[in-house]
């Protein structure tokens, strides 16, 4: 069940992330403006980038599902969005902590990136309820894919809109988060953390998919058992699920 590939991935994730965080702690210089608390940057920003990338990836997989009707794309779309929502919680909490340490508030409305992320996060919070409220699995996949595509397009557009709404009100403290202006000794741990976070995303997605596949197999066996026991009406059996259902 746990392939060697998954184990390798997990190992690579642990090594890269630990390496990145150690470098961030000891190698990266302390930023002149914000001091030590700027180190939150190395966990917060890669997490945010990967979460947003996951949302967009979910949209791409949704589009592929609509084109091919291959359940594997629906599964990927679902898992990508699921993982991104979980990472999104981390992004908002670490973002809050950072805002508190830098500006003394838990949430900074004038920080466009944080606000945009909150809106996107709230939107994707409805993904699970949407799936859950559609009973027919095929329709569930299709509608979820339409949502994923629309929301995936919304992500970049929303960032443009929110940034435009706050032109130059707040000093761009986070200007260096774009990466371009980073000094090299900050760049190395940052990009390493970004790679590690991506690996983490991939690893967790694989775990989640293994989980869903196993559940599909269990459901399949349950149905077979039910049939063998001669209960011809399995109406109550397939428990309502928000996850893509794997036909085993």
């Amino acid at each position: 069940m746990y392939s060697a590939k998954l184990r390798t991935l997990a190992l690579a994730t642990v090594i890269t992330l630990t390496g990145a965080f150690v470098l961030a702690a000891y190698y990266a210089p302390i930023e002149a403006d914000q001091g030590f608390s700027q180190k939150i940057f190395y966990v917060h920003v890669p997490m945010a980038i990967v979460a947003l990338g996951g949302f967009v990836w979910g949209g791409i997989q949704g589009l592929l599902y609509l084109r091919t009707r291959d359940p594997k794309h629906d599964m990927r779309s679902y898992v990508a969005i699921h993982m991104s929502v979980i990472l999104g919680i981390g992004v908002l909490v670490t973002g809050g902590i950072w805002a508190r340490s830098a500006w003394g508030v838990w949430f900074e409305w004038r920080e466009a990136t944080l606000v945009s992320f909150l809106i996107v996060f709230l939107l994707y919070c409805t993904y699970q309820p949407l799936r859950f409220s559609i009973t027919d699995p095929e329709k569930q996949s299709r509608y979820a894919a339409v949502f994923a595509v629309t929301a995936g397009t919304f992500v970049p557009l929303n960032f443009i809109a929110v940034r435009l709404a706050n032109p130059f009100i707040h000093p761009r403290v986070l200007n260096n988060t774009t990466g371009g202006a980073l000094p090299t000794d900050m760049k190395i741990p940052f990009y390493l953390a970004l790679i590690g976070m991506t690996l983490l995303f991939v690893t967790l997605s694989r775990v989640e998919m293994t989980h869903k596949l196993t559940r599909g197999r269990v459901r399949g066996l349950e149905r077979r058992l039910e049939r063998l026991q001669g209960e011809s009406d399995p109406a109550g059996l397939p428990a309502r699920s928000a996850a893509p259902q794997v036909m085993a």
């Binding site: 939107l123 919070c125 409805t126 309820p129 509608y143 339409v146 595509v149 629309t150 557009l157 709404a165």
Partner: protein
């Protein structure tokens, strides 16, 4: 009257289908007015609620803009939830699918209907808002500017409302899920519309809305218009 031999497939032009759908929509709303009066009444009641919730007798500028847009947005959610109810319950969607018609005709017709509904509601709600809550100082030019912002925002709201109205109608918790999905999606519209309206409603100030807000509104309308056009088919494709 029976068919003699095979016939070539025929298709009704999308324009004809959209016209037929629009005619049906207006006929239904005229025969049994449901959505429009509800939306208009909701807007007026909300203005009254704001008067007490803000504990103020008049607003201007940013607050005025916010009150107006929150009210219109929530009224729009009310309408979006009802947009497909008759078709869903009385088989209008099936009937359309049986006809040799491009399915996006439904999206186009519904979006146009929704824009028309929103515009009609605003024709009632905005004057009421001006009379009840707005501090005097609205010039004729301001009314024109307001109308432009309203129109651009209405198109975006109608596109999202139609797409997600059609999506939500098939779910069990449709009245719950529609605003949850549509409100975050419409935040950019609210940001841009509110920003653009604030100077218009201000007692003092330039009065002209920032051009870039209108540009983003246009971009939003365009992107989601095209997107809805591309994915709407899949909502009807069982």
């Amino acid at each position: 009257m029976t068919a003699a031999g095979p016939r070539p497939p025929r298709t009704t032009p999308t324009r004809t289908a959209v016209a037929a759908l629009l005619r049906k929509e207006l006929l239904l709303e005229r025969r049994v007015p449901q959505v429009l009066p509800a939306m208009a009444l909701f807007s007026v009641v909300t203005f009254v609620v704001f008067r007490f919730a803000l504990d103020t007798t008049s607003v201007e500028g940013r607050t005025a803009s916010g009150v107006l847009w929150v009210t219109l947005l929530f009224a729009a959610m009310l309408g979006a939830g009802r947009l497909f109810v008759a078709d869903h319950e009385e088989g209008g969607i099936d009937a359309l699918l049986l006809a040799p018609v491009d399915r996006t005709a439904l999206l186009i017709a519904k979006a146009i209907t929704f824009v028309a509904f929103l515009a009609l509601v605003e024709v009632v709600a905005v004057p009421v808002f001006v009379v009840l809550l707005l501090e005097p100082g609205l010039s004729i030019a301001d009314v024109g500017r307001l109308a432009l912002v309203l129109l651009l925002a209405d198109i975006g709201i109608a596109v999202i409302g139609t797409l997600f109205g059609a999506l939500a109608i098939q779910t069990r918790a449709r009245d719950l899920i529609l605003p949850l999905m549509a409100l975050p999606l419409l935040v950019p519209v609210v940001i841009m519309a509110a920003k653009a309206t604030a100077p218009v409603l201000a007692v003092t100030g330039s009065g002209a809305p920032g051009g870039r807000y209108l540009a983003v509104l246009c971009l939003y309308d365009l992107v989601f218009g095209l997107l809805a056009y591309a994915v709407f088919d899949f909502l009807l494709d069982d």
